[in-house]
């Protein structure tokens, strides 16, 4: 029982990182932009949050956790919106290839983050020395009334924020006028344009806001998952790609991403709770989330239901003159 509980807790923490990533990417993709820069944006959000908190904690004698939290949050959002903006400018205004731009953003983000992470480790006194314990403690603080409830006993506020954001996104896309307009932009930009919707504005906004949400995943990873430290081990990148897989798994529906993210978490950590696995057989188990995604893709393709398909103009630039 204790083992199941601990697996669920690990799964939820793991799932929250990719839930942020997936919800942000769903918003982006709904506008027809396939942003493969998810891992890069997570990296940038994470390192910016860590850097902000680190500078704050090293510059004052007694850092206030709440102030650190706000500074880290602000820095993470700023960095990821900026990344989303770069992507938008390249793909929407300059009409660069979306796949190439996204992949480049991932490489860029991981490079910048690992460079700065290494630099900060050095400033803090050596490899693995960086720690923003005050800020991290604020992120990991549990709600007092939930601390006795088994699975929920150790979850920080961002775990709940991810779920709330997913529900808000779902409501926005299905029930609001702006959400409807956004879906039209991603499905058929020419039609949306003819109906008087500003395709460029919708694409920019949803890509930048989507990047902000994705960046929160990186912040959560740094502050909660690895408890306010930094490691150049490619951990964020791995989770970033899983977030992209989760978008497909959830068939572009944020509310399905919620349980999907926890399922991915369970599948990923399963090896840890199965006895007698060697290092190499562990790796086989870590493939489970990807295998499940492939199975979902196969099933969805075979059923060919329109609602389960990606936005029709996903990955394609839009020229008004190109009708």
């Amino acid at each position: 029982m204790a083992q199941v509980l601990s697996l669920l807790q690990a799964a939820i923490v793991f799932g929250t990182v990719i839930l942020f990533g997936a919800v942000g990417e769903i918003l982006t993709e709904k506008s027809g932009n396939l942003n493969l820069g998810v891992p890069g944006i997570m990296y940038l959000g994470g390192i910016a949050g860590l850097g902000g908190a680190f500078l704050y904690e090293t510059s004052v004698a007694a850092p206030v956790p709440l102030v650190g939290l706000i500074i880290a949050l602000f820095c993470a959002l700023l960095a990821s919106v900026l990344a989303g903006f770069i992507y938008s400018f390249l793909t929407i205004t300059l009409r660069a290839n979306q796949n190439v731009t996204g992949l480049t953003l991932t490489i860029f983000g991981s490079g910048v983050a690992n460079f700065l992470g290494g630099a900060m480790n050095k400033m803090a006194g050596g490899v693995g020395q960086i720690s923003v314990s005050a800020t991290s403690s604020a992120y990991r603080a549990t709600f007092p009334f939930l601390s006795e409830v088994g699975v929920l006993s150790s979850l920080g506020f961002m775990t709940y924020l991810a779920i709330v954001l997913a529900f808000i996104m779902s409501w926005f896309l299905r029930k609001t006028r702006k959400g409807l307009n956004l879906r039209a932009v991603g499905e058929n930009p020419a039609t949306a344009d003819a109906a008087g919707i500003s395709v460029t504005k919708y694409k920019y906004l949803s890509t930048c806001v989507g990047a902000a949400v994705t960046g929160l995943g990186g912040l959560y990873y740094v502050m909660d998952y690895i408890k306010g430290t930094w490691a150049n081990d490619g951990g964020i990148e791995k989770l970033g790609w899983l977030a992209v897989a989760l978008v497909i798994f959830a068939r572009w529906k944020p509310r399905h991403a919620i349980w999907g993210s926890y399922l991915f978490g369970v599948l990923f950590w399963l090896y840890f709770y199965i006895g007698g696995l060697t290092r190499s057989s562990q790796e086989l188990f870590k493939m489970l989330p990807y295998i499940v995604t492939i199975l979902v893709l196969i099933v969805v393709s075979m059923r060919r239901k329109h609602e389960n398909q990606p936005p029709a103009s996903l990955g394609q630039p839009y020229f008004r003159e190109d009708r």
């Binding site: 006028r177 409807l180 003819a194």
Partner: protein
Amino acid sequence: MQSGTAAVSMRDIVKAFGPVVANDKVDLDIFSGEILALLGENGSGKTTLMNILSGIYYPDAGHVSVNGREVSIRSPKDVYDLGIGMVHQHFKLVDVLTAAENIILGMPGEGNLDMKAVGRKILDICALYGFSVDPGQKVYDMSVSQKQTVEIVKVLYRGAKILILDEPTAVLTPQETEKLFRVLRNMKNDGKAIVLITHKLHEVEEISDRVAVLRRGKNAGELVTKNTDAAEMTNMMVGRAVTLNIARPEPKDPKPRIVVDRLTLRDEEGIIKLNEVSFTAYSGEVLGIAGISGCGQKELLETIAGLHPLKSGSVTYIKPETGEKIDMAGLDPREIFSLGVMLSFVPEDRLGMGLVGNMDLTNNMMLRSFRRGKSVFTDRKTPRNLARSVVDELSVNTPGLTTPVRRLSGGNVQKVLVGREISSSPTVLMTAYAVRGLDINSSYTIYDLINQQKEKGVAVIFVGEDLDVLLELCDRILVLCGGRVSGIVAGRGADKNEVGLMMTKHGKETTHESDA
């Protein structure tokens, strides 16, 4: 004719695309409570004029007034505000959204959507005019006619008082057309102004109150429907024949080359594209195919070329040397070629089906020959020589053989394509709109090439849109209307009006008379 102010009045409208003047000082009045038919041949400027009114093009000169007030229309949004709505031939709908969602798309209003209220308003509009729309139905589940209904409701929902319909019946069955016409009459009785762009004379006679005719971008005249007939309208539409002086040698020793028998083809949506088409193409002759665009010309050529699977009917090729008959039904282009049928096809879509825009001249020549030879490596020398000879002989204006063909002008692209196709010494040459977009000189080069092939004994099938050219170039003209052959006439001495009438009216046995 109505008195009082026109709902829309267009004066001296001029619109040019480069050297081509699509509208040359065109006047048009549209009145409320009236159905106006806008009639004209392909390229007469009907759609351009209506696109100006719906904010897609901005006129170079001229005035537009709505309800007596001069307006400037700059975008589709201005048009909605003026109460004008256009239903395009190609629907602008999002497939995965419902009818109601498509209808309110882009409209201002509360942030939260109340789809129930929207649905009620849609049903009110439907009840008023006799439509049937299920607001919750997804567009991908709809038939073409249902999609069109959604488009019409969409403009009505936005409060349009002036409706423009661009060839609304082109995609409808006769029954659906009847239904549409009933709705249009209801809208007219409700005081809406309706403009119908069409080619079909029997529909004009059936539904419209007034007819405005355009010819070559100019006003050709205006008629009150009940005081006119199809012959007068055709006369006005095609005008007097222009003498072009295209050479037309007599066919030498014509022999049947391709026999098409009761060919019927349906598209993916089950709409009949070709209906029992039968004809014989002879060697050494040019068989012209006339018809309003979208009447099955493209499908006919593509079927002969083996691009559509044949469901019913047959296509037989008769080998010139032996007289052997080859049944081409169900064969793809490669199989047709391997049977020794020397078929050349110059498709309508030059850079899509005919050539690869991003590849250079030599590589485009290779598209026909890359399978030849036994070596793993392709032979580049022969195609390069071929490209050079095409460039020299047809005086293609190109910087070099390594220029991507998309950089060439339309006429030069066409020369490259035709040059490649005739280089394989075909016995059948099919061309679709071979001179579309070409200037006079390039057009004559193409006519000369066609005549050269004809004198070599090739059976040429020439799909054209300019009746004057067809009448001067072709030995026989097959007229298609709505996928049916409405007649085959001899090119020499054919009457333009007669051919024009055949293009717009189904053959006697298929005319459906309305009971409304």
